[in-house]
């Protein structure tokens, strides 16, 4: 038996006070396909980022690649020399450029010769495609490929990088696939698996990160489950069943799950049950969402969740008109609003507000001051005698900053120079300030420190208590447990289950997420 392809010992990583990884051991054998599982916050992505050199681990971690002891973090050159290659979820392909150029990008751009030998590059690219039996035209741009073909091209490219380190006839190497499959259909997954088996047949090993238990059960030899930054268990796939894996991912229910605001939520829930109908969503459908219906009552906080690629967050985008819906109706107080032609401007007029997950790219203008970001949803209210009354605007924004505990209170500071938590407070406060009737939140506390997280939750609870309906799309199950009256669980673009407050716990949601995919 040869040395394992990867042996990690005592891997730990803290961010500020929070421990993302706490003494993780992981061994991937030679010619093994090893699965890595774990829910949001389990430390999975931190582990991959340490392995790829993006983060440095805390002191004391040990790494062996094929028996050779190495120090983390590895430089790109060290990774290449040791046959360590990554395919991340975004695949790292340039869509406008041909398959050939994408596959040979390193050789083309790093060549020492002042000219490019296109015939040799073409020969090499075609040979790799042929080796894995891929009938893909190397001259077409990547953008014309189907999603699975893009993933296949990215994997073949990564394999070629590993293959180039072949010494003699022995191929070492580890291919890390970081969720390249969440949007693929069943037949496409088969193609991907065939390719992975070929890669292993050539002598390399694969670390396969996925949310999909069926995929893990089908393709891996062994798998490791991370939970709360530790290894919850490692198992032989053949000797394991689904429920056992779900139990590992979810962990044991905490005995004393006392919600910080349990009493408040319960009281509000009682009020909600009696409250008037506020919104009805009927027949909402989009490219990744099918026939979604939902009835919302005043003051309700409803969670939307599912595994990566299940399409739950699309509901928010379609309701607000951020991404076009194919069809569907939103009935607000009896007035129907066609969602196929929905625009954000019309949505705001109808009393909707949307806080996207992409803070800098979609929520707020990082290059503009906090003041402008606070007041942008409705400036007309500050017009006095035909002009904006800056004194009132400052006073109003200053009040918002104080009320929502934004630090520092400096309205002229650019939004981008605030911390994540403070920027998010500004962006949430901006919408709360115009008292929306339906507030759409996408991962409202992602990348936010613990204190700010509590503040944001409190603000969300308060606006709901005042009658606003809140829809919160999140993969952070702890957050959904803390906030929601009920949570809808999605899989493959459909709502599969509803978890009500009395049954709502992180563990139950996890079980439902995985059960929904299997259904």
């Amino acid at each position: 038996m040869s040395e394992p392809a990867l042996a990690l010992r005592g891997l730990a990583k803290s961010f500020g006070g929070a421990r993302a990884l706490d003494g993780v051991d992981l061994t991937v054998g030679a010619r093994e396909i090893h699965g890595l599982l774990g829910h949001n916050g389990s430390g999975k992505s931190t582990l991959v980022k340490i392995l790829s050199g993006y983060h440095a681990p805390d002191a004391g971690a040990g790494l062996h690649l094929h028996g050779e002891a190495l120090r983390l973090p590895l430089s790109l050159a060290e990774q290449r020399a040791r046959g360590l290659a990554f395919v991340h979820q975004n695949l790292g392909l340039a869509p406008q450029i041909s398959v050939l150029e994408n596959m040979r990008i390193v050789e083309i751009t790093a060549a020492r010769r002042p000219w490019i030998d296109w015939r040799a590059q073409r020969r090499a690219a075609l040979a790799s495609l042929q080796q894995f039996g891929l009938a893909i035209d190397a001259d077409q741009p990547v953008s014309t490929l189907s999603p699975v073909e893009r993933a296949l091209v990215a994997i073949v490219r990564a394999f070629v990088a590993i293959d180039s380190t072949r010494s003699g006839r022995q191929l070492h190497g580890l291919l890390v696939l970081d969720e390249p499959t969440p949007f693929l259909a069943r037949d496409d997954v088969e193609r991907l698996f065939r390719l992975m088996r070929q890669v292993v047949a050539e002598g390399a090993s694969v670390l396969f990160i996925s949310h999909d238990l069926d995929e893990i059960l089908e393709i891996t030899d062994r798998a490791t489950v991370l939970r709360d930054g530790r290894v919850a268990g490692t198992f032989e796939t053949k000797a394991t069943v689904r429920d056992a894996i779900v139990a590992l991912i979810a962990g044991h229910p905490r005995v004393a799950t006392v919600n910080a605001d349990g009493a408040g939520v319960a009281a509000r829930r009682a009020a909600t049950a009696k409250a008037a109908l506020a919104f009805e969503i009927r027949g909402l459908a989009g490219p990744q969402l099918q026939d979604f219906d939902l009835t919302l009552r005043r003051g309700e906080i409803v969670g939307l969740t599912g595994l990566l690629g299940s399409g739950y967050e699309r509901v928010l985008h379609h309701l607000f008109g951020a991404a076009p819906a194919l069809r569907g109706t939103l009935r607000a107080a009896g007035v129907p609003l066609e969602l196929a032609g929905q625009t954000p401007a019309a949505a705001v007029r109808a009393g909707l507000a949307f806080l996207p997950g992409d803070r800098q790219g979609a929520s707020g203008a990082g290059g503009l001051p906090v003041l402008d970001n606070f007041l942008v949803p409705d400036l007309a209210r500050f017009v006095r005698g035909g002009r904006l009354d800056w004194r009132r605007m400052r006073a109003h924004a200053g009040g918002l900053a104080t009320r929502h505990r934004v630090r520092p209170v400096d309205l002229d500071m650019k939004l981008a120079s605030l911390s994540g938590g403070n920027a998010q407070k500004v962006l949430l406060a901006k919408w709360l300030d115009i008292a929306p009737r339906l507030l759409l939140l996408e991962e409202p506390t992602q990348g936010v420190d613990v204190g700010a997280r509590e503040d944001l939750w409190q603000a969300i609870r308060e606006i709901a208590a005042a009658g606003t309906v809140v829809l919160c799309a999140s993969s952070d199950l702890e957050q959904l447990e803390a906030l929601c009256d009920r949570v809808l669980v999605f899989a493959r673009g459909r709502c599969r289950a509803e978890v009500r407050r009395d049954a709502l716990s992180k563990q139950e949601l996890l079980r439902q997420c995985y059960a929904a995919v299997a259904a």
Partner: protein
């Protein structure tokens, strides 16, 4: 651009805001000492203020779409289009000047609407579209004017633009100053101005905050062409004739003034008074140099070098951070 202005002292902020004004005063002072009899005369300043009014109007026109993140390279051609329409209608076809003015403004709206159609509806980058319309309009202007200057514009019109004076300066200057004031008000004191700013910083952020990005951008492009038309009208008035050739000569200095202006008054943003001052700063330098009998090519060097030096200084003041502009 770097971090927060609050981290800098009020003095540093003041220096950055008014450095361009200081540079302008310095240029005036230097040439006044060197050329007391010719440069430092009211006559010289009055002529400069009036003759640069078309350039100021065009630079102001450009900052409207620039604030929304779009380039309008057709502005220079639109200046000559407006001038030539006045010439052809009023002189060649003997139509009343009032009618000619309306037709010129209508042509400006048309150019802006064409730009907006291709940029926003067809979704072609503004640089590409306006490069194309600039060339098309330039060609059209040459056909319309038979490639020759048309003189003999309506006396009353010319009188109003350049002969009549208020406080010793022709009306032409006040037209430009009024437009600068209007744009300053638009950017600083109206919700629309704030919306334009968001659109320019990030279209997606603006859209998801309920701003109708397409409407704002289209409006800015049409406004830009209309203001360029006004620049052409004033230009025809200042010359007393319609010159079909100067479009491109206007365009590059106007862009230089727009970017130069964005280093002062409201540093980091295109702003009306910064642009207005930048036009006259460049004009003062060039007037002084030309009085020394320095050859024409120095004009181009001065325009370009002043722009690069100013923007470089401003970047160093900000620690060479990523620029907000363009």
């Amino acid at each position: 651009m770097s971090g927060d202005p609050s981290a800098r002292s009020p003095l540093a902020t003041f220096v950055e805001r008014f450095a361009l004004v200081g540079a302008w005063l310095l240029v005036i002072a230097v040439f006044s000492v060197l050329l007391p009899g010719s440069f430092f005369t009211w006559q010289n300043f009055a002529v400069m203020f009036a003759s640069q009014a078309p350039a100021a109007l065009l630079a102001l026109a450009l900052i409207v779409p620039l604030t929304c993140g779009d380039y309008d390279l057709s502005g220079g051609a639109t200046v000559t289009l407006a001038a030539v329409i006045l010439g052809v209608m009023n002189v060649v076809h003997q139509q009343p000047i009032g009618l000619a003015l309306w037709v010129a403004l209508g042509a400006g709206v048309l150019v802006g609407a064409l730009n907006a159609f291709f940029i926003i509806y067809v979704r072609i980058p503004s640089l590409v579209v306006t490069l194309g319309t600039a060339s098309v309009v330039t060609g059209f202007v040459q056909w319309l004017s038979d490639s020759s200057t048309i003189s003999g514009l309506d006396g009353g019109f010319v009188d109003w633009i350049i002969i009549r004076q208020l406080f010793g300066i022709s009306y032409a200057f006040y037209v430009a100053a009024l437009v600068a004031a209007a744009l300053w008000y638009l950017f600083e004191y109206t919700p629309l101005g704030r919306r334009m700013l968001f659109v320019g910083k990030s279209r997606e952020v603006a859209r998801l905050n309920g701003i109708r990005v397409d409407h704002v951008r289209a409006g800015a492009l049409v406004a830009s062409s209309v203001l360029a038309t006004m620049a052409g009208i004033v230009y025809a008035g200042v010359l007393g004739s319609a010159d079909p050739f100067s479009g491109l000569n206007f365009l590059l200095p106007a862009f230089a003034a727009a970017f130069l202006g964005a280093t002062s008054i409201k540093p980091g943003r295109f702003n009306a008074w910064g642009t207005f001052i930048a036009v006259y700063f460049l004009a003062s330098g060039i007037t002084g140099l030309s009085m020394f009998g320095i050859p024409l090519w120095v004009t181009s060097v001065f325009n370009g070098a002043a722009l690069i030096v100013a923007v470089t200084l401003s970047q160093f003041a900000r620690g060479r951070a990523e620029s907000d502009l363009g």
